[in-house]
């Protein structure tokens, strides 16, 4: 498109400013993590790495990190199984209510997190009468992790043709062999990308977790609890930096695994035309 030099430069500057705006708070927290004082004062008076050491040896942080990892892995595992099955059903078979499946899968993340959280909380405590434990957190996270796996798998299945599977069956493979040697290799990178995104989503989740967690804190809940304790803020800075790295790295790898980064990790999830957003 023909644009004047001035317009080009204007757009370039605007782009730079928006990117600076997007990254500024993240950079600020990273700088604060090296603060050598306990008070959060700007400009910093000195630089040190002592809070990294303190955070590393903090038992609360370690427990919370372990809980988060367990919850993330559990939710990702459930999401992988159910998301892949739902994707196969929708992409490969025609059945009554097929259109509503993609809508239903998306619902947990289209609705506000507080609604999902309350709904799960009242079901667990009032209807089912189970105690809130790590297991309930995993189930809660799985509800919205399913959609990212589903979206990635469905987009890949729609792009791959079924003729390979038919050829495999014609050559005498039974359905499990076909899945193992033909379908799964085609799907693998989409599933890995979906799983990484699901883990990142679960690792970062606050709202549903507050409603489904018992005594065990996940890392975001630990951060939320400690925000009101000024003495712990230096450790929170360090934990914040670690959490950001732990959630950004899987997503970065996921964008490399799929051909179109925006399609795989964007709000809409896969190539499916659905309204969906990661739960913040």
């Amino acid at each position: 498109m023909q644009l004047s030099r001035g317009a080009r430069w204007g757009l370039r500057v605007a782009t730079g400013l928006v990117l600076a705006f997007l990254y500024a708070p993240i950079v600020v927290i990273a700088i604060y993590a090296f603060n050598d004082r306990r008070t959060q004062q700007w400009p910093l008076e000195g630089v040190s790495t002592q809070w990294f050491d303190k955070a590393f040896h903090n038992q609360g942080v370690r427990d919370a990190l372990w809980t988060s990892v367990q919850a993330g892995l559990g939710a990702t595992a459930i999401a992988l199984v159910l998301g892949t099955l739902a994707a196969f059903a929708v992409a490969r078979y025609d059945f009554f209510g097929r259109e509503s499946v993609s809508f239903l899968v998306v619902l947990p993340i289209a609705l506000p997190g507080i609604v999902t959280g309350m709904a799960l909380n009242s079901t667990f405590t009032e209807v089912l009468g189970v105690d809130l434990t790590l297991f309930t957190v995993i189930v809660g996270h799985a509800t919205f992790c399913i959609v990212v796996v589903y979206n990635n798998a469905v987009a890949r299945l729609r792009r791959t043709s079924t003729s390979f599977e038919e050829a495999s069956a014609d050559l005498g493979a039974h359905s499990w062999q076909t899945f193992r040697h033909v379908t799964f290799p085609q799907l693998r990178s989409a599933l890995v990308a979906g799983a990484l995104l699901a883990f990142a989503l679960s690792f970062d989740e606050v709202i549903v977790t507050t409603f489904t967690a018992g005594d065990g804190e996940t890392l975001p809940i630990w951060i939320l609890d400690n925000l009101s304790r000024p003495n712990n803020l230096p450790v929170v800075n360090v934990v914040g930096v670690v959490v950001i790295l732990l959630s950004i790295i899987p997503v970065y790898i996921a964008t490399r695994l799929t051909s179109d980064p925006v399609q795989s990790a964007a709000p809409g999830g896969g190539g499916d035309k659905v309204a969906a957003a990661p739960v913040p």
Binding site: I29, V251, A265, G268
Partner: protein, 258 residues
């Protein structure tokens, strides 16, 4: 899935239950009294208006900020720069939500960076309030607006833009008469995210503002007051607003842009 839908059903049924004010027990009798409370109580009505107002303000702000960068990505940048920019916009979206809000809290604090920057000019920071909430929400949901607009602009064929230029349309006119109408559904698609995410959030207001929003009231009624029925009734407000919003968005063709 069944478990999830069941949970939602329980919640909406619960909106019609009552709380016995003497015993603090939930009475399973059905009535509209919770909704009546919402409608007649001035404080609640104000909170609903404030929340919807800030959601609208955030949406407009994000659309204005997002358009130039999305336009640069889609129509000016080279293909390689485009991919790099898309990832660069996407990454902050996945960085921990809570840490981002906390970072803003630090920036907006009394002895934070913003005051330090503004001090030479004699201006004071927005402090904890509606403006801080608006700023932080606009920051948080900005990538949700940039990405759909970028995708929408990318779909506009360059030949259309060139044709407008060949027919004598000056850049400003081409922008207003060709690009803007074609990109509008994408803006609406992005606004679905900015609007709905603002409606349901209670953590950001809690951390950077002292004002109440719908989410805070719901949370307070579940956690502190233990009045699940009223909370459930209040939670239906953003859901209803969103359903109406989605119906309008569908008419404007936003769904094809997602």
């Amino acid at each position: 899935m069944v478990a999830y839908l069941g949970s939602l059903a329980v919640l909406f049924v619960a909106a019609f239950w009552q709380l016995d004010t003497f015993t603090g027990q939930i009475v399973h009798e059905y009535s509209f009294s919770n909704f009546q409370t919402l409608w007649e109580n001035d404080v609640y009505r104000q909170i609903v208006l404030r929340t919807v107002g800030i959601a609208a303000a955030v949406t407009v702000t994000d659309a204005i900020i997002a358009f130039p960068i999305a336009f640069y990505m889609a129509k000016v940048a080279s293909p390689r720069a485009r991919a790099a920019l898309a990832v660069a916009v996407l990454m902050p979206l996945w960085a921990s939500y809570l840490v981002k809000v906390y970072a803003w809290r630090t920036i907006l604090a009394e002895d934070g960076i913003l005051n330090w920057l503004l001090d030479p000019f004699g201006i004071s920071r927005p402090g904890k309030g509606v403006i801080a909430t608006w700023l932080v929400f606009s920051y948080l949901w900005l990538p949700y607006m940039i990405l759909p607009i970028y995708a929408g602009l990318e779909r506009i064929p360059n030949s259309l833009v060139d044709a407008s230029g060949d027919l004598g349309g000056r850049p400003g006119m081409t922008f207003r008469r060709v690009i803007l109408p074609l990109a509008f559904p994408a803006v609406v698609a992005g606004s679905i995210f900015t609007f709905s995410l603002t409606l349901g959030d209670y953590i950001t207001p809690q951390l950077v503002s002292s004002k109440q929003f719908i989410g805070n009231v719901v949370y307070a009624n579940v956690g502190v007051a233990n009045n699940l029925p009223l909370a459930a009734a209040f939670a239906t407000v953003p859901v209803v607003v969103m359903v109406l919003y989605l119906l309008v968005a569908r008419r404007l063709g936003a769904f094809e842009q997602l």
